[in-house]
Symmetry: C2
Subunit: 493 residues, 2 copies
């Protein structure tokens, strides 16, 4: 429906984006925040039309899409508030000490935006991690201009959101090209954007292969740039026996729902469950199977995602010692994902890297260990993850310190007695984890701390108060928290 951008168009878009950045970075935090709130408002004003188009393009149900739009609006508004509050600037002020030898100058540190940022829309979050999603909101808050590479699977939704953003920009009388929208199904479009000398950072949510490719291109540039790619994760869940003894059925219900939530199309989907062979585990398996059998298959995002699901599922199931434990008892229509639980012994799992890979969809692999030592061995053989989860009693927690510590070191978010699906938008959120979960485990993709991805620190030495940016001025006109001579305060210097 939409043609891929050609190189000349991409060059023109990037040049305009760079010019607009030069203007946009001078706007105050309040003006940036007002723009973000205006975008939120325009998304609301898109009304039912936007939901309908997104339903057609993504197969996602209406309630989910309405919820996701509300989340996207909340993100824009909460990051706008954070942008104004200025905590993301990490202000440090050290005042001069004239009688030190040599004299200590006045130094004040704040953050400045990196430059034009390319954001690749994700397939599984047509609103919250696409055109006006978390990466765009963070980049705009930081003072960067944004170029969106629309996800081809929901290009029309993306176009409509882009129009809403452009309307907001116009209403705020901001430079038109601080936001640009590029279509492209081919990898050439992505490559041309990421390797363009004026692009200074990249946000991406999607597959490992896609994210790693962008990372490599970015690092091979004459001037390497940061890529914040959120890629695959199997989000391991460790079930300890005393906990299972207490509530195997409840946990099974909780996990059947989590595994199949949104047809399993969440980056925090629990794709690995690790238990210890026992009566309690058998009860859990039995109960989980009963639940899974009852859950009807539902349409996946698009045929490409569905095909990949069935191919990866088939690859996993045909590995030796892998067996299906339960499948939905309802037949799957075309492009629907069949809820599936498979199982394998720990030794096979450890020795077969293919089984460590994500099967994106309503699928989970249950690893059966002979004892707690083998469970530790599994933990020691896992790759970096967005999340890891422990289901344990207080007693089990105290008795398995090394296991808990090992599980902790796998992930960016560490859950006790819960499910990994459901990612709160708040300051404490860490959505990012050691490679290969993301390409930069030091930054979060969810929550206002994500703004920091698109800024870098700069120190002003020996500047007159009137020439400093507002956030560094003596009188603290923005009324933000600042670390002055090693103490946090809102007081003036």
């Amino acid at each position: 429906m939409f043609k891929d951008a050609i190189i000349e168009e991409i060059n023109s878009v990037v040049n305009h984006s760079r010019q607009a950045f030069q203007q946009y970075k001078k706007y105050s935090f309040k003006q940036r925040a007002d723009l973000m709130r205006a975008i939120a408002n325009e998304l609301e004003l898109c009304g039912d039309d936007l939901i309908k188009i997104a339903m057609q393009e993504t197969n996602l149900p209406e309630a989910r899409l309405r919820g996701e739009r509300a989340r996207t609006i909340f993100q824009l508004i909460s990051y706008a508030d954070a942008c104004e509050k200025g905590d993301w600037l990490d202000i440090r002020i050290d005042t001069a000490i004239a009688d030190k030898n040599p004299p200590k100058p006045d130094i004040r540190k704040t953050s400045v935006p990196l430059g034009p940022v390319v954001v690749f829309g994700s397939s599984n979050f047509p609103f919250a991690y696409s055109t006006a999603g978390g990466d765009t909101a963070c980049a705009l808050a930081a003072g960067c201009s944004v170029i969106i590479k629309a996800h081809p699977a929901h290009a029309q939704t993306s176009e409509m959101v882009a129009n809403a953003i452009h309307t907001a920009i116009e209403k705020c009388k901001m430079p038109e090209h601080i936001f640009s929208h590029v279509h492209g199904a081919s990898f050439e479009v992505g490559k041309a954007l990421v390797t363009h000398q004026y692009i200074k950072a990249v946000g991406f949510t999607g597959s490992f292969i896609g994210g790693k490719q962008l990372f490599d291109w970015a690092n091979q540039r004459k001037e390497p740039i940061s890529v914040f790619a959120e890629m695959g994760s199997v989000n391991p869940v460790f079930l300890l026996n005393e906990k299972l003894n207490q509530s195997a059925n409840d946990i099974a219900k909780q996990y059947a729902a989590s595994i199949t939530l949104g047809v399993g199309q969440f980056c925090t989907n629990p794709g690995l469950i690790i238990g210890i062979k026992s009566d309690a585990l058998n009860t859990f398996i039995h109960s989980l199977s009963d639940e899974i059998k009852k859950i009807a298959p539902a349409k996946m995002l698009h045929s490409g995602i569905a095909n990949a699901f069935y191919q990866k599922r088939a690859n996993a199931l045909q590995q030796s010692n892998v067996a299906v434990v339960a499948e939905s008892e309802t037949n799957a229509d075309e492009n629907s994902g069949l809820p599936t639980i498979a199982t394998v012994d720990a030794k096979t799992f450890i020795n077969n890297p293919l089984l460590h890979q994500e099967v994106f969809g309503p699928y989970s692999l249950l690893i059966q260990c002979t004892d707690i030592n083998e469970m530790l061995l599994v933990a020691n053989h896992l790759e970096g993850q967005l999340t890891s989860t422990v289901m344990a009693t207080e007693n089990e927690f105290k008795e398995n310190i090394e296991l808990i510590d090992t599980i902790k070191n796998l992930c960016g978010r560490f859950i006790l007695n819960g499910v990994p699906t459901g990612v709160e938008v708040c300051r404490s959120m860490m959505h990012g984890g050691p490679f290969p979960a993301t390409t930069d485990a030091r930054f979060t993709a969810v929550g206002a701390d994500g703004i920091k991805r698109f800024a870098r620190p700069i120190a002003y030495q020996n500047w007159n108060n009137e020439f400093l940016p507002d956030e560094l001025k003596n009188e603290n006109p923005l009324n933000i928290w600042r670390m002055i001579n090693n103490e946090w305060t809102k007081n003036p210097v």
Copy 2:
């Protein structure tokens, strides 16, 4: 004198370092801080012997080395204080909201150490950026084990400092292998360390070629890791005419001293001076020449550095339109660096990339522009820098907003009416800048914020208070600043 480590030794060192890391990361912040203070104490106890050995190996004068040791001790102690104060953890706590739909869980974010870190000692700071230098101090504060690749030019100094560290570790009853010392003059030693799967981050201070090579190796790993390489910088200084009119002679004296400080062997050495052709600039040139002629050459760090200085200096001087303005009138002995000022017109500079490269030593290139627009053009053609400096009156500052903004965007530290040499150790310091000055402009190599380089955030969701790390517990037992529900406080939850 010291043999290069062989692969088997390196594997053994890394394995031990990893085991020690598993222990070390469990120590409290206070215990880590006490270790760092003990190392500072041992450095002091090395007394004159250490200074003598360093003098022999580096040709640096006694006063400088005593000062550098004091700085190194100050770094260890101030980062130890910061480690205990916990600001580097960037704590965020959001408490649960049970009646939200869906319920919002309790989430608390802190930071955890990355793992074993390799630090490459620098040649120009045998104490402050070598064995017990800033990178080592930051990594130990973060909870990482450290492997030092000793700089071959001061291997004996490095060995003595390493012994001091080992004594401190022993006195603190810490695991022996949290610190390891490896010799190696060949690139194979560095490559084996950086590409070892158990190494999780790299600190480096040195040449662009060396740093970029480490960066590439690290990114080509199966699991890419962070490299914090502080590489070359020419630290441009922009002289505006009104300011020169007021004080050309004073500025010339200030800069003659800065250019030749430590025989020009500082990463913040002002290697480029950009002025506008005028009587004021002529006065400055005349005065700077007079000063430079009077400054005697001094021994450089070692013959390799001296040879590189003369080769790069000769390469620069033989470019067309480059002329020598002034040299020291004293002949240079073997391995001594001859203070030199060269000049070139702006057009030639813009079109000749070789002239943009650092000549490490007492050398500065003065670029003469026809007007302020050409000065802006030069600024627009410069690469990323550690620092940039503007010498201007208030009036000139107000009239040249675009020029000032362009100069700002080049660098990590932005100086008004001062010199770039002299890097304060404090929280507000930003020692790092856009590529190619460093490989990661989001982090500083000087000041306690440098601890953040060796840690990553992790969020605890739904944890019992007693199982949380101390810094996240309700009662705030460490009495540190935490952002609770979006507000900074030291109060308990």
